[in-house]
């Protein structure tokens, strides 16, 4: 069993996550402190965390949708999305994290705890990407099928489903 990634989608995903990470950082650095004085920093932290989860999931969904529609395997889609997210995140935050650990003395005080925090944040980021990619992998038309299953529409729907599955089989064979 071999795992492959779709290189053009991967490049685009890395760039998108790079944009997302730098934008989140810029928002946190520039707008975070003044807002925190008004609302308290815990509110800003929660908002930023939710924003990061939603936007990462959105990017992953946007990235996975054309791959899925083109008939790419779920493994390839997930690998492409997760790898691009991990690379985009790491390019921005891992160097800053390491510099912060050294300059702030965190590395000497509790290196294990700092590493553990990094792993938790990366896990959350990967979970958001997985969620976003999986929602893209479920075709919206298929979810609406149950509403179309009235007695008079049933033969038409079955024909569409069969045609869709046939189409997918052909694409998979061509990959």
């Amino acid at each position: 069993m071999t795992f492959t990634v779709h290189v053009p989608a991967l490049s685009r995903g890395i760039l998108l996550h790079l944009v997302l990470s730098t934008t989140l950082l810029a928002v946190a650095v520039v707008l975070g402190p003044p807002i925190a004085w008004l609302t308290g920093q815990s509110v800003v932290v929660i908002v930023l965390t939710v924003l990061a989860v939603l936007t990462r999931a959105g990017v992953a969904r946007w990235q996975a949708r054309p791959l899925w529609q083109a008939g790419a395997s779920l493994g390839m889609i997930m690998l492409t999305c997760l790898f691009s997210g991990l690379t985009g995140y790491s390019l921005v935050f891992v160097p800053l994290n390491l510099m912060g650990m050294v300059s702030g003395g965190v590395l000497q005080q509790s290196g294990v705890a700092a590493l553990f925090a990094l792993i938790i944040d990366i896990t959350l980021m990967l979970a958001a990407i997985t969620g976003g990619a999986l929602t893209a992998a479920v075709p919206p038309k298929r979810r609406k099928t149950s509403r179309l299953l009235s007695a008079e529409n049933l033969p038409v729907v079955q024909q569409i489903q069969e045609a869709f599955e046939e189409n997918r089989r052909r694409h998979r064979q061509s990959i």
Binding site: A9, A26, V29, P34, A36, W37, L67, A70, A117, L124
Partner: protein, 408 residues
């Protein structure tokens, strides 16, 4: 699979441009962030916003240089563990209490840099920048500041403390207090000691009378490399009914003063309730250094060698009187006299205790002590090494019509 083989050039170019732009925002937006934060939090008084620097009269002289570098234009305590002091020469220091009676002193050549540092390192804002990477609080903020410093975009984002300061108790007899500064090698760089008039000897009270002080007498010794003395400063709250002429005309032995039965009469006014009088001697001058060697002895203070005024408890009355007369002589001959008037922020009734506490806070301003926040409202200086020198205002540039007879 019908997928694009390469990125659309326009999309990728746009994404790259956005990355570059957000990186630029990260660099230049920090200043915007500081301005926005100050605009939001200044009214609360909790973020340690510095006021603008005082207008100092452009008059060149030794007294001006000494005064500007030494008077606290503003000092405030935005948090229990942080004390901010803004000096007249635009420099500033931030005193961060790390454990009871111990603090680290960060010094900045420009108070704006101190302002930025305070906001960047505020515990109330620390997790905000870190949240960009996730909710667990990775040290992203420290890394961001370190990155700015590595890129030569900020020289004072991540500075190390200049000294560690410890409170000391009873360094000059019971009731006295003080603070000792040590560098990263453990060597003493500055020592301040406050002796309340209740604990002072009659001879020291006589010296206080001579110098126009009430409440307490304090001395501060600044040391250079290898404990070489650099400056000696005597400070205390200013008493009314005192004049420069009075100091100059007295050439006899100081008078021993028994404990006064009546409370002293402080020099004060509704606008400037706390007035501090200080005399600075340049210890790089031979005669001043000789006096310093005579009246101070190196003693162990908190495990380090520091100069203490041992005359208070080790000499006879006569010897002490002679030494203190020598101090008064050197002061009237070569000292820089600075009088600073301070407004007390957020205080109600001005009592003797509050005035004394305020003055102590001003003397021990870079020590882990709690004191009222103050703002300088008036200052005047005189170089006593110049025979005909008069008080010159430091802030207003207006010549005082009769400064000699005016002590209020």
């Amino acid at each position: 699979m019908k997928l694009p083989r390469q990125l659309p050039s326009l999309t990728s170019a746009l994404l790259i441009i956005v990355v570059v732009l957000t990186s630029l925002v990260l660099v230049v937006g920090r200043d915007v962030s500081h301005r926005l934060t100050l605009a939001v939090c200044t009214d609360t008084g909790e973020c340690g916003a510095f006021p603008q620097s005082p207008p100092v009269c452009q008059y060149h002289g030794r007294d001006r240089a000494v005064a500007r570098a030494s008077f606290a234009f503003a000092q405030q305590q935005p948090a229990e563990t942080a004390r901010l002091v803004q000096y007249g020469d635009d420099s500033a220091s931030v005193v961060v209490t790390t454990e009871p009676d111990v603090a680290e002193v960060y010094t900045f050549q420009r108070w704006e840099n101190a302002q930025r540092w305070v906001l960047d390192h505020s515990s109330a804002l620390g997790d905000v920048a870190n949240a960009a990477a996730g909710p667990t609080g990775q040290p992203v903020r420290d890394g961001y500041l370190q990155m700015l410093q590595l890129l030569q975009l900020d020289h004072q984002a991540a500075i190390t403390p200049e000294s560690t300061v410890r409170n000391i108790t009873d360094p000059a007899g019971e009731g006295s207090a003080g603070a000792v500064h040590t560098d990263d090698q453990g060597a003493v760089t500055k020592l301040s000691v406050i002796i309340p008039d209740g604990s002072a000897t009659p001879e020291l009270r006589g010296l206080m009378d001579e110098l126009g002080m009430w409440g307490f007498f304090s001395y501060t010794v600044e040391l250079g490399a290898d404990l070489a003395p650099r400056r000696l400063k005597f400070e205390g709250p200013a008493v009314a009914d005192w004049s420069l002429d009075q100091l100059r005309s007295s050439h006899e032995y100081i008078t021993a003063v028994a404990r006064p039965e009546e409370a002293p009469n402080p020099q004060t006014s509704p606008e400037t309730p706390s007035i501090l009088r200080s005399y600075a001697l340049d210890l790089t001058r031979t005669a001043n250094e000789a006096l310093y060697r005579e009246i101070f002895a190196m003693e162990s203070v908190g495990g380090a060698a520091a100069p203490l005024l041992t005359a208070e408890d080790r000499l006879s009355h006569g010897e002490r009187r002679e030494l203190y007369t020598g101090i008064a002589d050197r002061i009237r001959t070569d000292a820089v006299l600075v009088e600073t008037g301070h407004r007390i922020i957020g205080s109600g009734d001005v009592t003797h205790d509050l005035l004394s506490e305020t003055a102590q806070g001003l003397v021990l301003r870079d020590a882990p002590v709690q004191g009222p926040s103050t703002r300088l409202v008036d200052a005047r200086t005189a170089d006593l090494s110049i025979a005909s020198s008069r008080f010159e205002p430091l802030l207003t540039c207006e010549v005082e019509p009769d400064s000699e007879g005016d002590s209020s």
